[in-house]
Amino acid sequence: MFNALGIFVIRRKYAVVIAWFVIILVAAPFFTQAANFLKPGGFSNESFPSVQARKVLQERLELTTLTVDFVFSHPDWSVFEPRFTGAISSAISGLTEFEEIDSVLTHLDDPSRASALSNTVHVSAGLTIELEESVEFLETVTEYVDPGPLTMIITGGPALYRDISLASERDLRRGEIVAFPIATIALLIVFGTLVAAFLPAAVGGGGVLVGVALVFFMSQGIDMSVFALNIVSLLGIGIGIDYSLFYTSRFQEELRSGKSVEASVLAAHSEAGQAILFSAVTSLIGLLSLVMFDVMMLRSVGIGAVAVILAALVAALTLMPALLSILGDRVNRFRVRPGWALNSKFSVWVPLSNWVMRRPWFVLIPTSIILVMLAVPALSMRLGTVDATILPDSLESRQGYDVLRDEFGFALKTVIPVVYIFAEEDDLFLMSDPFTRENIQRAFDVGHALERLDGVSGVSSIVNLDRTFGPNQYEVLYRHPESITDVAAKRIIEDSVRPGAILFLVHSDLHPFWPETRQLVTDIRALTSSDGELYVSGGASEITDIINTLYGKFPVIVAVVLVVTYVSLLLLFRSVLLPLKAVILNVLSILASYGALVFVFQEGNFSGLLNFQAMGVIEATLPILLFAIIFGLSMDYEIFLLSRVSEAYRRTGENEASVAEGLQRSGLIITGAASILIIVAASFVLADVVVVKAIGLGLAIAVFVDVTLVRALIAPAIMRIAGPWNWWLPDWLDRILPKVKRVE
């Protein structure tokens, strides 16, 4: 069938090219439209306890945790002067008329929202809508609010969210602009001719275009995250180039050996095509694992990546042979590199492979130690999420965030909203008054249990107003709650109590997104009361759910991916040891990139050079995304290398010579493909958004480690040491394993 596909494409080469041309033409408009239909965010889902708690907060206490934040300032006017307060009143008047806005809080409601030193006031508009909808609504608010003589900066969840998306997109564009010319030069160096260098760009580009168009169509039926676009583009370019590079170079090699164009295409299709197919299947397995996550962002990255890999695979197996059949010898036109450079005798890979073959232990031990050392920092990885400091300070939302942090201590500490619902909430009589002696006692118990948890610096609630008060004093205090004159206490009574429900704000000096805070969330959730139920809301709670969901399944998914990969490589190479070696080395490459991420982005090393602020944590989705992408890519390289070794071994039956030949024949191609990907990925280090930087650097380091330490040194050294064991397959296994038919 594989052979038939090759023959079919060669016979109908023009029809195939025209068909692809039409497909690309049809896909192009959808490619450009895809971003408009993808949704930002998508990190949580409805079943999360934090999402349930958010609903309880909204429904029972009419509170929202999502706000548009305004920072008003004036160089001369004091914040409580009538002209300042008048200007604010005028700016925000009518805001509560919007049904999307629940309430507006100013410094007149809460004096701590005013900074007299910098004449700055923090005003918040609480939203009744979800984050995704709020980004659009933000534009309406921005146009509506006229600050008059005051300076206004708008920040808060929706603005930060919008800017993170915009800045990420801008970063990716800029990265592509920088990477494209450099990658082109790298392609020219690898292929040596202009025409051949054009092919990967055409096939890779075509694959990405069609893949993204597929994402567009899928986004019409299911929710897809905008993050999918970035990852899909990056992965599509990398994999498309890999496939076409491997295919084209093999075709050139066959041509040089004197075969006809058709025979060369068929031979390339047989060996390279089959390796590409297996490589794609392996990558698909890795990326399909993302679909198993109950998190829209990862699921859509998985679906998108599958689409783009399928498109790249089909392009490599149809468009590529069709183009090569048409081009024939002309693929070597417009030479930009001397012919001798293509001759493997002059390649660095020959002496390198010979050197590794002569002293495998001498190579294996130190390189393995280096690899393990690179991976060691990963053991201190702290997963979390990032705050607005990942944004460049040229953006308005970041500037506003900085003012809120510096002037009002915003986001430096954690506030966890905990809603306590009385057990009798269904009983209208019992739920009528939270200020009865019995209900005050229950709330008092909960409030003080929360105060005693590790990491809690204080609790705000109707029963935590005063450290010297007990239930009796509170009962007296709340006989006429409206008569309380204390502004802060009055606000707590207005906002944090409703029939049957009491809100506790748990304060902690811990950073909202750090692991210790997730432990606090877990501790709060572990508190049980027979008199009622606790619902833990807020950012820290949502992050806890996201990370628990991601990493609750991650080990299982990792295990499934590794096992399935092992089995598919077992089928391809009919060896017990080689797939095991491949899987272990791939994991080590990934761990090395994790270690680098921790060393650089968590600990802040090279922060000056790379122009970023240390995150203190690794963004929780990064390790999973990198696992999926790197596993797919490095498996490409492994399969390309092993397929050449295996091919030589089938021909010669000599292990050592086969390993050397495989390394020599695949070395340039793998290095070329990897160099291009490293260039593309490393260009994202120029990004403004730190997470994009981290993805780029993590990917670049992983691929670099993979093609240098792993593929060039460790893999051949292990294969040399293993000798005939490389090809050992028990008879019983040989009998039950299905045969992969080869085109001869």
Binding site: P111, A114, A449, D466, P471, Q473, I484, Q519, L562
Partner: protein, 357 residues
Amino acid sequence: MSLLICLVLLTGCVNISETRPVPSDAVADPTPLPREVVIAVDQYPHGSRLEWWYHNGHLSTELGREFGFHFVVFKAQDGINEPNVVAQLGILDVDSSTHYEASRADTGLLFSDAGVLDIGIADWLYTIGDNPGDHEFSAKNDTVSLSLDLTTSTAPMLHNEIGWMPTEVGSTYYYSWPRQIANGELVVGGESFEVSGTAWFDHQWGEFFVLGKPSGWQWFAIQLDNGGSLMVTEVRGITGDVIDAYGTYMAPDGVVTHLSYGADSIDVKALDNWVSPSTGGVYPSGWELTVGSIGINLVLTPLLLNQEVLGSLPKASTYWEGKVNVEGQLKGENVFGDAYVELSGYVDPDPVIWREQ
């Protein structure tokens, strides 16, 4: 593979806490025990939930033009956030019967060196001097401005003998400097005056709440011409009934007498009412004050009916704080004097919206 899984387990997942039942703290309320008040230390801010430094006084120019003032700095602290600080200024121009008020709010406290505390409240400044009983402040808005130096001429007056008293909802430390000498500059109606006179100072702090209507108080700070000083407070409880009255009298020779409701026969009788056009609050206006044990019977008459402080910044409670004339008898002798009266809890509070629904 196992290394990766270990890594993931180590880093990704939080420890699962065992469930823990909420313990019941069903015990009697903690009983706060007072400590000794040390003025040199206690004149400065405390970490307590509520605290205020308050001055009132009776000022005049060289030409005899009379003014009254009150200036107060409130600090509220919830133990989590920076303290909120609100300052209010009230000025009565007796000649023109005009009452002015201004306010500022801020967060946090600014400390300076050498034991002197500067509290900046936006563009206002209040200084607690090194020497107990010495203060300075400057406060202004577009229409009124007052800067005063205040130095004490007496010993402090610790109320309830030890300077501490329980309330219905908490307890408060409380002392006064009943006679401070005031000198400074006043600007009203575009005119600037050098002023001097006598002032009264109160300092309260503690873990307590100030409740509005129906709770509240009538507070009298009286400076008699004979050199005596008298503070009397009548307290209404959560039901609106008078539940207590207490006071402190400092005789001209400095001897301090603590006065209690029943034992000392304190009686406060309102002679009239005044209805606020701004808030609709019905305030007593004009009083007959009797303290049987020390033979005092005084009639206090407001110099202006409307000395209501709306306290609009931020949305704070409304009260009446006014300069009054004093005349009457002390142990059978005629006495005169000046006083400030504070009336709290006479305006209907805003309802708690969700309880109304």
